[in-house]
Amino acid sequence: MSPLVEVRDLCKQFPVGDGAMVHAVEGVSLEVGRGETLAVVGESGCGKSTLAHTMIRLHNPTSGQVILDGEDISTLGNRALRSHRQKMQIIFQDPFASLDPRRPVGRAVAEPLLIHGKAKGVEADEMVADLFVKVGLEAGMMRQFPHQFSGGQRQRICIARALATNPQLVIADEAVSALDVSIQAQVINLMMGLQEELGLSYLFISHDLAVVERMSHRVAVMYLGQIVELGPRRAIFESPQHSYTQRLLDAVPIADPRIRRDRPLLTDEIPSPVWPSGSSPERVVMREVAPGHLVAEEGEVADRVRPT
């Protein structure tokens, strides 16, 4: 069976004046399988969120293709895109910012149903009630307002809204990062349960490698707009090949005081992704080191000189 999403050579650049460009996403290719969680990890500014937003056309790509369920959606106009939007939904980091403070939360969850003509009136109310139960809330809560909920409950509401259109792909952009750990664990368990029940595919954008290890089937590591390593979760976590992946993993504090690592007193920083007019970053070359495990050849992205 073909993958649910295929991203081919996707690029997204943003102008920053004087013809210079931020190369936020630079030639990314990946697939998301059906019922699979692909995690995209990397540090601030690596392009992971821009990649996700470009995939679902919150940004228009500079170049490249996004093939969703067999159809290239990267160049579709707004009208044609609308029916495809049902298949792909997104959950953001801060649920409070994603909900209108003056509307009952049930209305927020009903909105996708109404917009996409899935249901209206009493039928929509019933579907919303079902969605609330599905995400572990009580149906009666749909008449309450966002401020009456805790952060974890609000994120459950956003998940309910994302599920309203029966999507195949749900993008979770740091969706559990702002939650307290006990709540985070509950929401992660909920997301995993829903995946099993509904056959969802997740694109899970996160900076938290320990969470990613728990959730994902496959992992893509991004650095400066490009993927430097991509493979099955075990390959990435148990035998990371790229030096950047290793550095990321080494930096994670482990919740076990017996394993205290010596921290080298480094001061290095990630170079700028801004390139002046007429120049652009060198593309990494990926090679396959094991089935499905791709690693960028070193010395290209990692060592490049910072442009001015």
Binding site: H207, R214, H217, F237, V252, P253, A255, R260, D262
Partner: protein, 283 residues
């Protein structure tokens, strides 16, 4: 050995709401104590109370308790009973604090060098030239590359990790006996967090300062703390040496908290994702 700082029976209220209730702990010189808890547990209010900042700008009130501090003259004083002018001598000088978001702690219109110099001019009475020398030393201490050039930079020209180094440099510039760090690495990327935690550990050894770190991150706790205080709903629920807390926590809240912490390496050998095995906790 007598503690450097001893919080005893601290209770802080905001109107009818009790944010901190009967909290006690000791910090010894050269040690790191982590206060850990989830949002709203009272950990930051505890830190702000030690600095006596909880009554400034907020409507907090220290209702009860004492905060005994052995000052640089060897006297033990109760911070709760110090006047504001006396606190100003202590704050930033003998006890200093760094916060989560360095950008909000730095003034955007002054160079970072001038801001750190201001602290030493104010507290140590140095002239501008001596202060600049001191700033340069501090920047070297916190391993800011090219310190001379960096001193002239403005906060927006620096990365988050460099800004936090500036804040640490400022906090340590007057040789404080206690450094309070409220979520110092929460806003930083994990590689930068590792650098800052390594730096803090190194500096504690070099300066002998006591460190009180406030965090929600059990990974950070495991990495830096000697002793741990676990807070929930304004109260201390458990305390002990770091290994005891992680290996044989007795309180149900601590056990539930630890069960929900994602741990790198916990999935080794497993092919499929797996949900957390959560421990039910009913307050």
């Amino acid at each position: 050995m007598d503690p450097l700082l001893s919080v005893r029976g601290l209770t802080v209220t905001f109107g009818s709401f009790t944010a901190v209730e009967d909290v006690s702990f000791d910090i010894h010189a050269g040690q790191t104590l982590a206060v850990v808890g989830e949002s709203g547990s009272g950990k930051s209010v505890t830190a702000l109370s030690i600095m006596r900042l909880v009554e400034l700008g907020t409507r907090g009130k220290i209702e009860a308790g004492e905060i005994l501090f052995r000052n640089s003259d060897g006297e033990v004083i109760d911070l709760v009973r110090q006047r504001e002018d006396q606190m100003r001598e202590i704050r930033g000088n003998q006890i200093s604090m760094i916060f989560q978001e360095p950008l909000t702690s730095l003034n955007p219109v002054y160079s970072v060098g001038d801001q750190v110099a201001e602290a030493v001019i104010l507290h140590q009475g140095l002239d501008k030239e001596a202060a600049n020398e001191r700033v340069l030393d501090m920047f070297r201490l916190v391993r800011i590359p090219e310190p001379e050039e960096r001193m002239a930079q403005f906060p927006h020209e620096m990365s988050g990790g460099m800004r936090q180094r500036v804040m640490i440099a400022m906090a340590l510039s007057c040789d404080p006996k206690v450094l309070i760090a409220d979520e110092p690495t929460t806003a930083l990327d994990v590689t930068i967090q590792a650098q800052i935690l390594g730096l803090m550990r190194d500096l504690r050894e070099q300066t002998g300062a006591a460190v009180l770190i406030i965090t929600h991150d059990m990974g950070v706790v495991a990495e830096v703390a000697d002793d741990v205080v676990v807070m929930n709903r304004a109260k201390v629920v458990e305390r002990g040496p770091v290994t005891q807390i992680f290996e044989s926590a007795t309180e149900p809240y601590t056990q539930a908290l630890l069960a929900s912490v994602p741990r790198l390496g916990s999935m080794t050998g497993l092919d499929k994702p797996a949900p957390f095995e959560l421990v039910e906790y009913q307050p």
